[in-house]
C-alpha cells in the first residue's frame, strides 16, 4: 500500500531515512521534545502503537481509561508546564471521546496536539467500521485540524500542528491519519515549523496605542487591573508584578489568571466574576480606568454587559484581535503578546501609589470577611464547610501546591480560598465548565510537575464522570492527592434550584457509592472524614503521603457559595447572602 509521489521524491534529501508513516509520527513527537503522551489504542491507530512499543524507552505513553481522560491529562500537563500536551486515540468512538477535552482546550487556550487514527483512505466516506468524520466534528472546536492520507505529509503537518498549538493564542490541533498513511513508508526528515504565511500568531505592537494606555494609567485616579490567563500563557508574571508594584494599582484576577500574581501580594485584591470577591466586583463599577490584561471579558466575569464598567475608560491588552470589542468595547486596545507589551508599558508608566483607592478595596474586603469569609473558615457547629478543607490544604502546602479543581461549588471555593506563591499552580476548566476534568487533569499536572504536590479537589458529581481514571493513577503510580468534597448533591445546580427555582431539586440529589471502597479497589490509600476534629490531621496525612491518596470529606449538604452575581445582574449588584 505504498504511496509515493513525484514531489516527494524531489524533496528527499540525502540526510533522510526510510521509515513507515507510523514511525514517522513517533519521530516527529521526539523532534518536538515530547516525552509523555496520553492515549488509548484501537484498530485504526495500531500501527502507531506498534511503534510506541518499539520506542517505549524514549516516549512514555500513559494509558488512560477513557479517551476523554487522555485529553484532560494532556491539558493538565500543558497547563503546569507551558508545553504542548499530546493525546492519541483511534478512529470513531476513540476520536469522538476526545471532543469534550478539545472543546475545553479551545475555550481555555490550552496547547494540545491530538492525533487520531482513521480508516484506510480507500474506505473514507463508506461508513466503514469505526469511521467518523472527526475533522468535520472537530472543526468548530480546534485552532486547526487536518487529515493526512499520505505518509509523506506526516513530518510537515505534525511540525505545523505543534507550531500552531503553541504559538500566538495557544489552542488545540487535531491531526487525523488514515491507516494506510501509517503503513506506507516515506523518506523521513524533520524541520520544525517557524511560520505559516496565512497565520500571524502575534499582532504588531503599536507604540502610539501603548503611549495612550500609559497616559490614561498615569492620569487615572482610580485605576484597576483585571488580569487573566494571558499573563501566564505569555510568561509575563514578573512584568505584571512589576507593573502593579510600580503603579500601585490594585489587581484582580479571572479564574484562569489565578496564581499569576501571588495570592498574598498586598495589591492582589482577589477574584472577579460571579463568585468572585466583593471588592473587585463592586469597584469594577467605580474605577476610572479598567486595565484588562490577557483576559476576554467572559460573561461569568462581566455579569450584565449593559452595566459593566460603563464609567471607566477600558484599556485592553490582548494577543487575539478577535477579542477586542467582542464583549466590552475597548477605548484603548493594545494588541500583542503581554510579555512584550507589558515590558514596554513599564517604561512608560509613572511610579504611583493609590492608597485611598486601595483602601476602598480593603474596606469592602472587611465587609466580605465579616459576612462570609469568617464563617466559611471558622465555623464551629454543623458539618464541615468546603472552605475549611481548602484552608487546611493551604496550611500544609504553604501555597506551593498545584491545585486542580473540577467544576461547581467546590471549584469556586477552591479558587476563592487557595493560596499560591507560584504561577501555573491552578488548573481548572474555566470556559467550558467541564465536570470530570479534574481527576485526569491532575494526573497530567503531576507528571508535568513531578516535584510539586498536586491536589485534585473534586465534587462527588464530577468525580463520577471520570472516576475510571483511578485506574490510570494506580497503574502509573502517580502520587496525586484526591480530595472529594462530598455533599451528596450536584451542589451548584442545587444552589440555583434553591435560589431561582423555589427549591425544586430536580435530579440534583446523588445516591453515591462507597467512594472509599472504590479507591481501595485500586489499591489507593484512603481516608474519610466526617467530623471537624479529624480534618486537620487527615489533610496533613494526605499531604505527607508519598503515594497517591484519596480523602473523602463529608461536607455540609446544602451550603451555598457567596458572594454571587445573579444572572442578568451587574457586578456591583453582587449578593453577600
Amino acid at each position: 500500500m505504498e504511496v509515493k509521489t513525484a514531489s516527494f521524491e524531489k524533496l528527499a534529501t540525502p540526510a533522510t531515512t526510510t521509515v513507515s508513516g507510523a514511525e514517522a509520527v513517533i519521530k516527529c513527537l521526539l523532534e518536538e521534545g515530547v516525552e509523555t503522551i496520553y492515549g488509548y489504542p484501537g484498530g485504526a491507530i495500531m500501527p502507531v502503537y506498534d511503534e510506541l512499543y518499539k520506542y517505549q524507552n524514549k516516549i512514555h505513553h500513559v494509558l488512560t481509561r477513557h479517551e476523554q481522560g487522555a485529553t484532560h491529562a494532556a491539558q493538565g500537563f500543558a497547563r503546569v508546564t507551558g508545553k504542548v500536551g499530546v493525546a492519541m486515540a483511534t478512529s470513531g468512538p476513540g476520536a469522538t471521546n476526545l471532543v469534550t477535552g478539545i472543546a475545553d482546550a479551545q475555550i481555555d487556550s490550552t496547547p494540545l496536539v491530538c492525533i487520531t487514527g482513521q480508516v484506510g483512505s480507500h474506505l473514507l466516506g463508506s461508513d466503514a467500521f469505526q469511521e467518523t468524520d472527526i475533522v468535520g466534528i472537530s472543526t468548530p472546536i480546534t485552532k486547526w485540524n487536518y487529515q493526512i492520507t499520505k505518509a509523506e505529509e506526516i513530518p510537515e503537518i505534525i511540525a505545523r500542528a505543534f507550531y500552531i498549538a503553541r504559538s500566538g493564542r495557544p489552542g488545540p490541533v487535531l491531526i487525523d491519519i488514515t491507516k494506510d498513511a501509517q503503513f506506507a513508508s516515506l523518506e523521513f526528515s524533520y524541520k520544525k515549523c517557524s511560520g505559516i504565511r496565512s497565520y500571524k500568531p502575534e499582532p504588531e505592537i503599536s507604540m502610539p496605542q501603548l503611549e495612550k494606555a500609559a497616559e490614561a494609567i498615569n492620569s487615572a485616579k482610580k485605576p484597576f487591573i483585571v488580569f487573566g490567563q494571558g499573563v501566564i500563557l505569555g510568561a509575563a508574571e514578573k512584568l505584571l508584578k512589576q507593573l502593579v508594584e510600580k503603579t500601585g494599582i490594585p489587581a484582580a484576577w479571572t479564574i484562569l489568571g489565578l496564581s499569576a500574581l501571588p495570592t498574598d501580594h498586598p495589591l492582589n485584591v482577589g477574584m472577579v466574576g460571579m463568585h468572585g470577591n466583593y471588592a473587585p466586583n463592586m469597584l469594577t463599577n467605580e474605577c476610572d480606568v479598567l486595565i484588562a490584561i490577557g483576559m476576554r471579558f467572559d460573561d461569568r466575569v462581566t455579569g450584565n454587559l449593559e452595566k459593566y464598567a460603563k464609567q471607566a475608560k477600558v484599556i485592553h491588552f490582548e494577543i487575539d484581535p478577535a477579542e477586542i470589542d467582542k464583549n466590552v468595547k475597548a477605548d484603548v486596545p493594545v494588541l500583542g503578546n503581554v510579555k512584550k507589551t507589558l515590558a514596554l508599558l513599564l517604561e512608560l508608566v509613572e511610579g504611583n501609589k493609590h492608597e485611598a483607592w486601595h483602601q476602598e478595596f480593603k474596606d469592602l474586603y472587611k465587609i466580605e470577611y465579616d459576612k462570609i469569609i469568617k464563617n466559611d473558615l471558622n465555623a464551629e457547629r454543623g458539618k464541615i464547610g468546603m472552605a475549611e478543607v481548602i484552608d487546611e490544604i493551604n496550611t500544609c502546602s504553604k501555597g506551593d501546591a498545584v491545585i486542580v479543581s473540577d467544576v461547581g461549588q467546590h471549584q469556586m471555593v477552591a479558587c476563592r480560598y487557595s493560596k499560591f506563591n507560584q504561577t501555573r499552580s491552578k488548573v481548572t476548566s474555566g470556559g467550558l465548565g467541564t465536570m470530570g476534568f479534574a481527576l485526569p487533569a491532575a494526573i497530567g499536572a503531576k507528571m508535568g510537575a513531578p516535584n510539586r504536590e498536586v491536589v485534585a479537589i473534586i465534587g462527588d458529581g464530577g468525580y463520577q464522570m471520570t472516576i475510571q481514571e483511578l485506574g490510570t493513577i494506580f497503574q502509573t503510580k502517580t502520587p496525586v492527592k484526591i480530595v472529594i468534597l462530598n455533599n451528596g448533591f450536584l451542589g451548584m445546580v442545587r444552589q440555583w434550584q434553591q435560589l431561582f427555582f423555589d427549591k425544586r431539586y430536580a435530579s440534583t440529589e446523588m445516591v453515591n457509592p462507597d467512594f472509599v471502597t472504590i479507591a481501595k479497589g485500586y489499591h489507593i490509600k484512603t481516608n474519610q472524614v466526617t467530623e471537624r476534629a479529624q480534618l486537620a490531621e487527615a489533610v496533613k496525612e494526605m499531604m505527607e503521603s508519598k503515594e497517591a491518596y484519596f480523602l473523602e470529606v463529608k461536607v455540609e449538604q446544602e451550603e451555598n457559595v457567596f458572594p454571587m452575581v445573579p444572572t442578568g445582574a451587574a457586578v456591583s449588584e453582587i449578593l453577600l447572602e
Partner: protein, 176 residues
C-alpha cells in the same frame, strides 16, 4: 443597529475543509448566509470567498475577525453594497411553446438585456446577469408563463477601492 447587506471577502489558502470552517463561524452565531461563492483570486494559489450576509455592522465586524483568526485565512474584509461592484447570474428555463406563442417574452429579453443560451424544441434557457433586483424582475415577468426551472448564482463582487491583498502576500513572502 440596523441590519444591512454586507459582502464578506475572504482570501485563503486553497485547502479542503476551509469552507466548512468558515461556514461554522456563521452557524455558531446563527447568521444565515444569503449567498456564497468560492473561486480562484487574482493571486496565484489563493482562493477568494464572497459571502453575503444580512447583519448589523457590529456583527459583521466580529465575524470578520473570527474568520481572519483561522490559520489558513490570509485576510478578510467586509463591504457594504455601495462599496462593491457586484453581479449575480440567473438561468431561467421556459417552455418553448410559450415562447413561440407569446411574443412578449421576446420583448422582455430584449428590454432586460438577457441572453438566450439554448433553444430546443421543448424548452429554451435564458441567462441574465445583473443585480438581484434585475434578475428578480425578470423572474416576476417570466413566472406567469410557467418557469420550468430557475436558478441563481451567489453574488460575485469586486470592491471599488483597491484590495491590499497582493501587498500583504508580498510581505509574507519577505518575512518568511
Amino acid at each position: 443597529m440596523e441590519k444591512k447587506n454586507y459582502t464578506v471577502s475572504i482570501y485563503t489558502e486553497n485547502n479542503v475543509g476551509l469552507l466548512s470552517r468558515i461556514a461554522a463561524i456563521f452557524l455558531k452565531r446563527h447568521i444565515n448566509i444569503e449567498s456564497v461563492t468560492v473561486s480562484k483570486s487574482e493571486v496565484e494559489g489563493v482562493m477568494r470567498f464572497i459571502i453575503v450576509v444580512q447583519v448589523t455592522e457590529e456583527q459583521v465586524q466580529k465575524v470578520v475577525k473570527q474568520i481572519e483568526k483561522q490559520i489558513e485565512v490570509i485576510k478578510a474584509f467586509y463591504h457594504t453594497d455601495e462599496e462593491m461592484i457586484y453581479q449575480e447570474t440567473a438561468l431561467y428555463k421556459v417552455n418553448s411553446e410559450e415562447f413561440v406563442e407569446d411574443m412578449s417574452i421576446q420583448d422582455f429579453i430584449k428590454e432586460t438585456n438577457a441572453r438566450i443560451v439554448t433553444v430546443t424544441q421543448k424548452f429554451f434557457v435564458i441567462e441574465k446577469t445583473g443585480k438581484r433586483s434585475e434578475t428578480d424582475s425578470l423572474y416576476e415577468k417570466l413566472k406567469p408563463y410557467g418557469l420550468m426551472q430557475f436558478v441563481r448564482s451567489g453574488t460575485i463582487a469586486v470592491t471599488k477601492n483597491e484590495m491590499p491583498i497582493s501587498n500583504i502576500l508580498k510581505q509574507f513572502d519577505t518575512t518568511n
